[in-house]
Symmetry: C2
């Protein structure tokens, strides 16, 4: 393909509408930048006659999206259907088999079937681009794959889900609890009616799986990710964190250490002075720690019509310019499975909130348990005395192995004075 | 060129040493990522036998850098000599004329001669890459040229000079004045013995000129930039800004409006809540406001061996992968000169600090001058009374034309009660 990019778009939800708008509104600009004519040949969506605020009358209509992959007047298929299997997967496979480049915003698809699809794309000399699948408008795939290609990454992490970040930010600002803020977010359209995908960390995990593969040259391994969401985060933990100089963020973190690749999505205490702590509301951010470049931070809108469509267009412009790179930075044949570091071996500091009876000797009992597991205390907060009643005790540990911390937690839970299982939140070292 | 990238490096200062280190240390990784063998054929520097902490014994030595451009065993010339003319320019011109791709970190060269050199590169089908010239390790050229290619930019701005940001951050943290902090920065090696290039804004302006061209598709026009440095910033202004909820940063700002392209480098009051306000010390950051992507922020180290070398390597990897794009995103032949917006027409808010005698009616006199120029006051700070003595009066205006503000300044200076010319610092709207 040299000078004419003929696009078939499957899915006309808000991202699809955004893609059509950019192609219609910036046609001349895109052509100057890409050296090619970018035009839409055909579109497909569930319903043809929905009013979407755009004119699609000039495009061929396909009732079945998969027909886009078989049209002679399409050489780039844009898959915006979503879902890890079903029509999205069938469309992408058929497009690649039929010699069409593919651009997709489908994180679940890439996280689950990325390696097989990449193999198909590479075998046929085609692009399989998915910038829009991770962190919306932020060109982070390009940054890792190209802009920082001279680096080995000790760690890549970020705020990858805008819904969770909006909820946590609002909880912090208002002092309200999770359920209350979630309900409001649903009313405002920032959270889905079924919020599980977002608030349980699955969406962030899909994105993390992709980032890990690009950063470390290993096959996408979604199942290796330790995933926790934000349902258990309470206003009281956010308030204590603030008192100690931290904010709570849902992070996706990939790192490489002695035990292999560690991938985890969980709430995290981050020092309020770090760049990631300052990313509020629906914004996303990704931090890449490279051995030569040091810390780089990329921030922007992680979702929405315009930002996601912007990422789709960048992928199309790359194809128009003839930039066809291996899907995950290195060819599938060269990707190497790397050991998965076990969470039991995770090494880090912990925030622990206990709910214990305020009786003589309780701190001594707790301290003894920590000492026995060689976990040392960095700070301890016990505010207000209520002799005989349940009170919160909050402590922050120095770095230790997660297995030790789990045994600490079990032992504290078994104490007679303990009213509920200790609440643990991991901390991350940002030095 | 397909599978063998043979590199000639001109200049072995800290960036050159960093480039050699990456090529030596990450050889296998780079080859997997680029699909090519990257090797150094020859090097050139002022002195052959300086101890640089790297082994260059395996590379051919050229006493004269320009010989690198004529060697058969070199297909990519890395220019790290610096300077807008002289040997750097001669080397790049000769390399491009002789069919060698060029990677450079030389912002002055690209800011001054970018258009002519880009024309030469494009005519010969060669890459002229300069990611390292702007914002060190941050892949911002790639982001604007590729990752955000679907957007028109209303504004691109950033903290482009780490030395100035270090000085301003330290002034703010310590309350000390410019000269004092500069002297310390010089001792620490964060500022040059001759600091003019950095503190007078020239370095930031070189980088801005390049960003403007990439963002707006117009020829690089360094001379069109309004440039002010940070020498006039005093501790008192930083303290007043903080009191009003702002920080002072040296920004490079390119924007497109009704009057054309506005390019300016000057100190700026930025609201403390914006991402750019939180970029401290030697870090750089660039913000691109795109019409579809909305706000994107890119942060990282703007200088130093590792970060700058990381950017050089990204450029080399692009060449190894066969990604040869027009230098400024669109071909030189398609670049269009755009009108330069005059600073007199700049529209924005202003911080103004007056030094006036504390006598009855002085605020009335000042207010009348502002009213006559239709400049309205957003807030006014007059702290402490010292009847008959000189006191500072600080005010922030609503948005107005710069020409009006200059007349206000002249008129206030002419008042009998005024002790010195009003100090004006522009503000930027970050909504």
């Amino acid at each position: 393909m040299t000078n004419e990019v003929k696009i078939g778009i499957a899915g006309l939800g808000n991202v699809g509408v955004g893609v059509v708008k950019i192609l219609q509104q910036q046609s001349e600009l895109l052509s100057r930048r890409s050296g090619a004519t970018l035009s839409i040949s055909a579109v497909s969506a569930r319903s043809r006659h929905t009013d979407r605020g755009i004119d699609i009358g000039a495009y061929e209509w396909c009732d079945d999206a998969i027909d886009l992959a078989r049209r002679d007047d399409v050489n780039v298929v844009v898959e915006l259907i979503g879902g890890e299997d079903g029509p999205a997967r069938a469309l992408v496979e058929t497009a690649l088999a039929n010699g069409k480049h593919v651009v997709t915003a489908n994180k679940a698809l890439i996280a689950r079937h990325g390696e097989a699809l990449a193999g198909l794309a590479e075998k046929n000399g085609l692009a399989l681009n998915y910038e829009a699948a991770v962190a919306g408008g932020i060109p982070i795939i390009k940054a890792l794959r190209e802009g920082l290609a001279g680096n080995q990454f000790s760690r890549v992490y970020g705020i990858l889900n805008g819904t969770c970040n909006y909820i946590l930010t609002t909880m912090e600002e208002s002092g309200r609890d999770f359920a209350d803020v979630l309900a409001e977010a649903q009313q405002l359209g920032y959270a889905e009616a079924d919020p599980a995908f977002d608030v349980d960390g699955v969406d962030a995990a899909h994105k993390l799986a992709i980032l890990t593969s690009v950063a470390y040259g290993c096959p996408v391994d979604f199942d290796a990710i330790h995933v926790e969401g934000i349902r258990e985060i309470s206003a009281i933990d956010i308030a204590y964190a603030a008192k100690l100089g931290y904010r709570i963020k849902l992070l996706g973190i990939a790192s490489k250490g002695e035990n292999g690749i560690e991938q985890r999505v969980h709430p995290c205490l981050v020092p309020e002075k770090t760049p990631i702590a300052k990313v509020d509301g629906v914004f996303n951010a990704v931090v890449a720690d490279g051995d030569f470049v040091d810390r780089t931070v990329f921030e922007g809108r992680g979702a929405g019509e315009g930002p996601t469509a912007s990422a789709v267009l960048a992928d199309i412009v790359d194809i128009a310019r003839g930039t066809i790179l291996p899907t995950f930075s290195i060819p599938v044949a060269d990707m190497r499975k790397q050991p998965t570091a076990s969470m039991a071996d995770h090494f880090g500091a912990y925030y622990m909130r206990l709910n214990v009876l305020d009786v003589a000797g309780v701190i001594a009992e707790i301290s003894a348990i920590l000492r026995d597991e060689k976990v040392s205390i960095e700070s301890l907060l016990q505010q207000g005395r209520k002799p005989g009643e349940a009170v919160p005790v909050v402590l922050i540990t120095h770095e230790c192995r997660e297995a030790s911390m789990m045994r600490v937690s079990d032992a504290i839970e078994a104490l007679a004075v303990t009213q509920e299982r200790p609440r643990l939140i991991r901390m991350e070292n940002f030095e």
